[in-house]
């Protein structure tokens, strides 16, 4: 099995297109960093952090008092932010007043959908290309079950996705360190169960990256399924990218009127919504979303594996 995945990995990395993807991702992180730096250089000298934190808290409290339509979760979230800021003042844990290496890594997570885009492109091609190249015939006459072959392909897609995300993470850290200096707070303050706790910044960033990647992983799985079922990489890329860019917005529109929107894939891909208390449909929980995602995942995989294993190869 390891050797099958190795085969797929080689096939991905022996194509120039893959390096273009990595290059674009690095370029994008660089451009993003450049803009951030430029933006910051125009700002006036920052005030000291205590003043900023106090101003923030005043704004939050105003929001809580005046915002009538705030959900209970949202209120709790804002309260949490206030608590964190109070903790900062009390224990003298300075907040970042400008971009630092670590805060840039967090900002870099905005580029995750691009890393995801490339993952989708690989997922969309990994089965369909074998048909286009005609190599599927030589691949499927090996003494290896089709299930194993398809599994190795999916594993390669997931590994490639993780690889792209790591590239983004590391490149953001590197560019961040060069442009903003390797300083920054190594401690992340979280508000959990009514208490402010100190967390490792690195672990926090890891969590942000993973939670934010949920949607691209699901879309890559869908692209993989379409690729295996319809043997067309363009169809797989088309549908998946279309959904990647408009799926969330459409789901939000539906969610305004209908409660069943919470069962839609895109209502659940944003796992960070449970952190900031802004859930799409009242009553959704982290566990609920995970269950829905698992449901979609199983359906996608069943479709992919059943059709791939049963199909007559006539290409």
């Amino acid at each position: 099995m390891v050797r099958l995945i190795q085969n797929e990995w080689i096939k991905i990395f022996k194509r120039p297109g893959t390096y273009v993807m990595i290059g674009l991702l690095v370029l994008m992180a660089g451009t993003f960093a450049g803009f951030t730096k430029y933006d910051e250089s125009k700002q006036k000298e920052a005030k000291n952090w205590q003043q900023i934190v106090k101003a923030e808290n005043a704004a939050y409290e105003k929001q809580i008092k005046e915002g009538y339509d705030l959900s209970k979760d949202r209120k709790e979230y804002l309260q949490g932010l206030i608590k964190v800021n109070e903790y900062r003042l009390e224990h003298n844990v300075p907040a970042d007043t400008k971009t630092t290496m670590l805060s840039f890594v967090e900002d870099g997570s905005e580029l995750l959908s691009f890393a995801g885009l490339f993952m989708i492109i690989i997922a969309a091609g990994i089965v369909a290309s074998e048909y286009t190249w005609g190599t599927i015939k030589l691949l499927l006459i090996r003494p290896i079950s089709r299930t194993k072959i398809l599994f190795s392909k999916y594993a390669a897609v997931v590994l490639f996705g993780l690889f792209m995300i790591s590239v983004l993470f590391l490149v953001s850290a590197l560019i961040g360190a060069i442009l903003f200096g390797a300083s920054g707070e190594a401690v992340h303050l979280a508000y959990e169960g009514g208490k402010v706790i100190e967390q490792s910044m690195f672990l926090y960033l890891l969590k942000v990256y993973l939670l934010k990647s949920a949607d691209v992983f699901m879309l890559a799985t869908m692209a993989f399924m379409i690729s295996a079922v319809f043997r067309s990489s363009s169809l797989a890329i088309g549908i998946s990218l279309f959904l990647l860019f408009i799926g969330t917005n459409v789901t939000m529109l539906i969610a305004i009127k209908y409660e069943w929107a919470k069962y839609l894939l895109f209502a659940n891909t944003n796992l960070l919504q449970f952190e900031n208390g802004r859930v799409l449909v009242e009553g959704m929980t982290f566990g609920f979303s995970l269950a829905v995602l698992a449901g979609y995942f199983i359906v996608f995989q069943l479709l992919a594996f059943i059709t791939f294993a049963k199909r007559d190869v006539a290409a």
């Binding site: 190795q6 190249w133 005609g134 049963k310």
Partner: protein, 306 residues
């Protein structure tokens, strides 16, 4: 002799249409079996079913005692094949392609890969990308790929396609060697019928999804009726005279020449008959019947019967 491949009433229905209709035959150890048939007769479909690319609707295919349906992995591990064109990963080198396939089966050493490369004569270019290869080189690489795991059965679709005459001769010799020295069973399909005659021990003719004839090439060659072409001044009269004198002989007029099918011993009688009727004879030529003609004969006859 042991049967390495056995097809038992293999039937394939695609969208309600019977593509293959209860095909049964066996292929022995050390035998080269030619698969012959017009386009669309079901050759490739049959080959695809043998290698497990297509499922059977009915019947079974047994390879070295393992059913392709129930025991796919064991059955197919004895087969090396090229199905249609030898399509390879063009962005990889020939060597990297072979490595891909080597990783998918146990016990293929680096030495084995090198041996196979030497065998098909690709040593010089093996580290070049496949996209720079000619069709002949891809064909060789395809054969290398099919031999990597030392299979007992080799299936080659159009093996000499795109090769130059020297290459064809080499591959032909090579296939014969594999069957005779290594005892492999080889299944070859080709549209070059003369090619088949030189490589194969037995030829199976398939038409409209049914096996209509299996003959050993040796038998075919023993057919002693030959075709002769006679150039005369008046072919019409000559044809009439022939028909009267030799009612059993088939006579045709083609391009002002007389075309007859007869045994060699009959020819002097034909000549003296025509001469006695004052027909001028310019030339008598023996047309060696090609495998192609014999093939068409068999398929046409079959159509007339059915």
């Amino acid at each position: 002799m042991t049967a390495l491949v056995e097809l038992k009433n293999v039937t394939k229905v695609i969208k309600g249409k019977k593509i293959i209709d209860s095909l049964s035959f066996t292929i022995q150890k050390g035998e080269v079996f030619g698969f012959l048939g017009p386009n669309g007769a079901g050759k490739t479909t049959t080959i695809r079913m043998i290698v497990g690319l297509m499922k059977l609707t009915e019947g079974d295919i047994v390879i070295c005692g393992h059913s392709i349906q129930k025991d796919f992995e064991k059955a197919v591990s004895q087969i090396g094949a090229i199905v249609e064109n030898p399509e390879m990963y063009k962005f990889l080198s020939g060597y990297e392609n072979l490595q891909q396939y080597a990783r998918m089966q146990k016990g293929i050493t680096k030495a084995r890969i090198d041996d196979v490369i030497k065998l098909v004569g690709l040593s010089e270019r093996i580290h070049d990308k496949v996209k720079t290869y000619s069709l002949g080189m891809r064909q060789r690489l395809g054969i290398a790929q099919s031999l990597l795991h030392d299979p007992k059965i080799l299936i080659l679709d159009e093996p000499t396609n795109g090769l130059d005459p020297a290459g064809i001769k080499e591959i032909r010799q090579y296939i014969r060697d594999l069957a005779e020295k290594e005892g492999m069973a080889v299944i070859v399909s080709s549209h070059l019928l003369s090619e088949m005659e030189m490589i194969c021990d037995r030829i199976g003719i398939i038409q409209k999804g049914r096996l209509i004839n299996v003959q050993s090439v040796h038998d075919w060659e023993e057919d002693d009726r030959e075709a002769y072409s006679i150039e005369v001044n008046d072919s019409e009269t000559a044809a009439k005279q022939m028909a009267a004198a030799f009612p059993k002989t088939r006579v045709k007029i083609a391009g002002g020449r007389l075309s007859i099918e007869a045994e060699k011993e009959q020819i002097p009688a034909v000549i003296s008959l025509l001469a006695s009727k004052n027909i001028k004879i310019y030339e008598v030529k023996q047309l060696s019947k090609t495998l192609e003609e014999r093939f068409l004969e068999i398929t046409e006859k079959q159509e007339a019967v059915s």
